[in-house]
Amino acid sequence: MELKNISKVYHTKKEKVEALKDFSYKFDDGKLIAIMGHSGSGKSTLIKIMGLMDTCDEGKIIIDDKVVNDLSEKELADIRMNNIGFVFQDYYLDIDLKAIDNVILPMIINDNISRSDRKKKAEYLLKFVGLDKRINHYPKELSGGEQQRVAIARCLANDPNIILCDEPTGNLDEDNEETIFKMLSDLSKKGKCVVVVSHSNEIKKYADEVIYLKGGKLVKNNETK
């Protein structure tokens, strides 16, 4: 996935906020790329635009060699389903569904996964995140770390090759943070493009690349490890 000269301006009643300014970067498959920067520096905006949840004012978004800027809402949703998995700080599980049903939820709209396979696949993914004993629990019966692992299992439901995480460990303690980062790192090693916004310096241990944002601009680009 590649971003070219992305700019985004938010118009509020009082002012214009330039959340991203001329941002360009190529996010390679098989790498964990950490995005760091102060609060308000445009990290979430970047994730939102990469995840096609919002439009940019200028620039190009290229996924699998295709420019996706001008696609319809339905086509964008389709790309989100097939190519992109999200992990949020606040998990955003469906609190009325069991862990396993949360993981099944994205598969329902995917015609490539047959009905009969949904459950098996969800079980497999929950096992991958170490929750095979908790598949029938509702989110409120799970700890924060467990909920975030369900969210990771869910983001993998339709086998995306891009995983976008917006401060995935923002609500978690260090032990849980480590588990989550390890898991995301594993995914990148399996060939996925994993992008993680984080405040935590711990992420540097796992990241193949770290980029810094300041006032919506890419200011530093470190290869780590």
Binding site: K74, M81, D90, L97, I109, N158
Partner: protein, 400 residues
């Protein structure tokens, strides 16, 4: 998306607080609307039926002279003008399942065929034919002792023959019931029509004027010739005119029955007012609840978008949730309505109005009304979703 998948997503959401509130609010709105519709429907039908009810157009003319009779015969807007002996005759019979003591049966002459609309069987054609009402209750009926289960379906009487004894000559005459006529709200339910000629076999032009006991305790009764006449005006609106005209000619008249419409008009006005009020109010209430529900679901919609659901699917999911809520609301309102209907129609209205009026449940109107509400809810939902779905994708990002 298949229905089962939809239910998979929706099912646990149906009884959440917002949905539950909407369900309750909707069922109460529907209940009130249904009650008002029932009453309005009843009143409109009642008024409609009264138009056919000739008793309200009947005047009694007291003791007209031969000249008076000539004048009246030449007046306009008069359907029937006959001696009062052609009103009705009560007869003893036990042909209707109860002893003659408990039976209260009368016959009337069919003076004008338009006063008996045949619903089944034939109109009077031959001598000794008889037609009876579709709702037949020949047992003495006042509001208090009316027993619905004794009501006879007039259609089932067709083909039956009936022996009636005349007190004029003490002879027995056999009649055949050949048809059923529609009896309206206010019509008495205990009479059958026969031809005028047959009626003459039973009707005396002498009536009892009063009885007293003499010194020895023997009852003595006075009789007199019936001099009064019945006059039926052809349309309700001419009744007053006809009466005034007769008054000018010094011919004394009186109404046969008087019905007060004040009560029913008041009820109509109140129901109409309440219905209008509730309809207007409900628009705002439903708008408020649907909007509230959408706003509180923004993060949920954002999550669905993030996993690849498009706006159309999310709108459809939300719509179907509202459809199910509305259907449950309808069912709840009907379960409240039915006992209320049974109570009110039996206890209250049966005393207020003539007892043989059945208050209908206008179920078709209810369903239409519910569908209108449903369409309204769906369009509000679609409208409110459109603008907010765009917002929803920002809701779930940190530092929104």
């Amino acid at each position: 998306m298949k229905l089962s998948d939809q239910l998979f997503i929706i099912k646990n959401k149906l009884l959440k607080k917002d949905n539950f509130l909407l369900m309750l609010v909707l069922s109460f709105i529907l209940l009130i609307v249904f009650i008002c519709i029932t009453i309005l429907n009843f009143v409109i039908q009642y008024m409609e039926d009264i138009k056919d009810y000739k008793e309200t157009r009947t005047l009694i003319v007291y003791n007209p002279s031969i000249d008076d009779i000539k004048i009246i015969d030449n007046m306009e807007h008069i359907d029937i003008f006959v001696n009062k002996k052609y009103d009705f005759v009560s007869l003893e019979t036990d042909a209707f399942g109860k002893s003659s003591n408990e039976t209260d049966f009368t016959i009337r002459p069919l003076l004008n065929k338009k006063y008996a609309k045949i619903v089944m069987g034939k109109q009077l054609e031959n001598r000794k034919d008889m037609i009876c009402p579709i709702k037949f209750y020949p047992y003495g009926s006042t509001d208090n002792n009316y027993n619905k289960s004794d009501l006879i379906n007039g259609k089932k009487l067709i083909g039956k023959s009936l022996s009636l004894k005349s007190s004029l000559d003490n002879k027995i005459y056999n009649f055949n019931i050949v048809g059923s006529f529609k009896n309206n709200v206010l019509d008495e339910m205990n009479y059958c029509y026969v031809s005028v000629e047959d009626f003459d076999l039973f009707a005396s032009d002498i009536e009892e004027n009063g009885c007293y006991e003499d010194i020895n305790g023997v009852e003595i009764c006075d009789y007199q010739k019936i001099d009064d006449y019945l006059l039926v005006v052809d349309e309700e609106k001419y009744v007053e005119n006809v009466r005034k005209e007769l008054e000018n000619k010094k011919i004394a008249t009186d109404y046969s029955v008087t019905i007060s419409f004040d009560e029913i008009r008041t009820i109509f006005a109140y129901s109409f007012f309440i219905l209008t009020f509730v309809l207007i109010l409900s628009v705002f209430i439903i708008y408020y609840y649907v909007k509230k529900k959408i706003i509180s679901s923004l993060e949920y919609f954002g999550m669905l978008k993030s996993i690849g659901y498009d706006d159309a699917i999310i709108t459809k999911l939300e719509r179907d949730e509202l459809v199910i809520i509305s259907i449950i609301g309808f069912i709840i309102s009907m379960t409240m309505y039915i006992p209320l209907y049974i109570y009110v129609s039996h206890k209250f209205l049966s005393e207020l109005f003539f007892m043989n009026y059945m208050i209908e449940i206008p179920i078709v109107l209810f369903i239409i009304m519910t569908l209108i509400y449903l369409m309204f809810i769906i369009s509000i939902n679609r409208l409110a979703m459109k603008s907010r779905l765009k917002l929803s994708s920002s809701e779930i990002f940190n530092g929104k």
